[in-house]
Symmetry: C2
Subunit: 340 residues, 2 copies
Amino acid sequence: MVLAKVWTLTRRPNGIARKEDFACIEEELSPCNDGEVIVEAEYLTVDPYMRFMTRRIPLNSAMIGSQIARIIESKNAKWPVGKHLLCHSGWRSHSKISAETLELSDSWAGCMELSDIGDLPKSLWLGILGMPGITAYFGFLEICQPKAGETVLVNGAAGAVGSAVVQIAKIKGCKVIAFAGSEEKVAWVKELGADYSFNYKTTNVGEALGQAAPEKINCYFDNVGGEFTAEALPHMADFGRISVCGAISTYNDEAKDFGRAALNSPFSEGTLIWKQLKIEGFLALRWKERWLEYLEQMKKWISMGMIKYKETITQGFDNMPDAFIGLFKGDNIGKAIIIP
Amino acid sequence: MVLAKVWTLTRRPNGIARKEDFACIEEELSPCNDGEVIVEAEYLTVDPYMRFMTRRIPLNSAMIGSQIARIIESKNAKWPVGKHLLCHSGWRSHSKISAETLELSDSWAGCMELSDIGDLPKSLWLGILGMPGITAYFGFLEICQPKAGETVLVNGAAGAVGSAVVQIAKIKGCKVIAFAGSEEKVAWVKELGADYSFNYKTTNVGEALGQAAPEKINCYFDNVGGEFTAEALPHMADFGRISVCGAISTYNDEAKDFGRAALNSPFSEGTLIWKQLKIEGFLALRWKERWLEYLEQMKKWISMGMIKYKETITQGFDNMPDAFIGLFKGDNIGKAIIIP
């Protein structure tokens, strides 16, 4: 009998989440039936999108999320003990996975066997080689369609996604203006190659953009939204493209939940019209069929030293809510990973 | 000596414009020098975009705008007396046009000779055959990329642009949900083929959309913006496309002028992301090179009875500001035209 620890949501957060909104319970996993496996989490992830889920999952159910796990018990010949996989079991130390889930061909709904990434840590499947990396790569290249020589604005630039966008934009020959939330982050983003790197907490965003981009901004990869985007919008060039990846500054505000009718957003119609801007929101799973293509490219760039990454590791399954809450306080540089 | 009447802007409007914001002055036009012509306006136009210009043109200068005019004096062999042209002389009864302007190949900056449109009135060059028609045709087809069977939302649907979009969407095999601002307008839009036609002044927009589009909206052609768009956004389908043509509900609000950093707009980041919406603002002149292509198509549709149009004619050059102000009060059905 395997004992699983599970973080459940016990209360809808009001504003920024608090540890008391979650509870850690124990679940006994009965032995595997035919076709089933039991896995043990090796790396878990917290991501900003989970804040939306705290408004939507049933109370007292497990928080959703992906993890990298190792099979510790198996009655499925295709998935033997010792094999690693990426699964979507949520905030659980151990999980039983059904035969049906293991058979799903859609790895974003079921499980994915991990291909060979050499000496790279398996945690990268939750970061630069996984959903955040795909988000950065396709969300920037497909939506912004950057051309060499163009000016690119990235915020949340020391995050898992933003730091990848900064580097991909430099690889593509763009001028990059990046914003992050601490001096340490700003210094790292500069190391990654950003032409300009600002601390948004100590900088007037509009003034900084006026000085750094007198030629105006062609591509804007937005992780932050809200006031930042309002300040940036007047600095867009005619025919500018905005990839709306996230809006972390708004996620704790109920009035800005998705599906609400409200007049509190930064994309002024007049500016959209007169500058002929194109704005697109997206979810990374749009490109799930192209993960392999992405992997090949990204492994190559990493091996050549052209893409660097960082992880902020939280030790201990018990600290998972803290890692999640930390996302909204700017605690992480690069990808937030939990090692249980 | 020709005496021209000219409407100038004497005061920046505060909210909806008032007649006292304008003054009608007289200008003596000296006889033509070599290469010049003098024209007399036969049809003038007022369009919502001019409200932006009232914030930008120098005070006491002529209001900008296009007109259809007839040459009444000429020292230019290519442009003889009696010929009609489309020019951008502003709110003037008579204008002198320089040789340089006549020679510009860009008809949106200079002048355009009017090609043969048979029995159709020349005023259509300011409406369905001109800028508003091009706005509707390319702004809808190129940006929304509608497919047969998709659901299309159009507001300002009895206006010059909106009424064309309703009909083009029906030609393309779409289901059309239209909103206008009076019972008379709603009835006309229904005649044009809209599957649903609502009076936004007496209808809850969100509720109406919930009932008319349970399948959600794929394409939204927005002329109105503001509260209407806020209500419509939650009813968009995944991967919906929004063509931001105009936002007339916001034009009299200084806080919503273009280029301002503000959080007062309806395009919620969360909804953009989770529905993966694409939003694009545009100016019709983007497609100016395709005017001829457009003309051929539109003349065909009109001759086949597939596109209908209306004009709201204001008689008298002296009443031009009233016609302009009327745009924002919903006075016009179809294109607002002034016959001086």
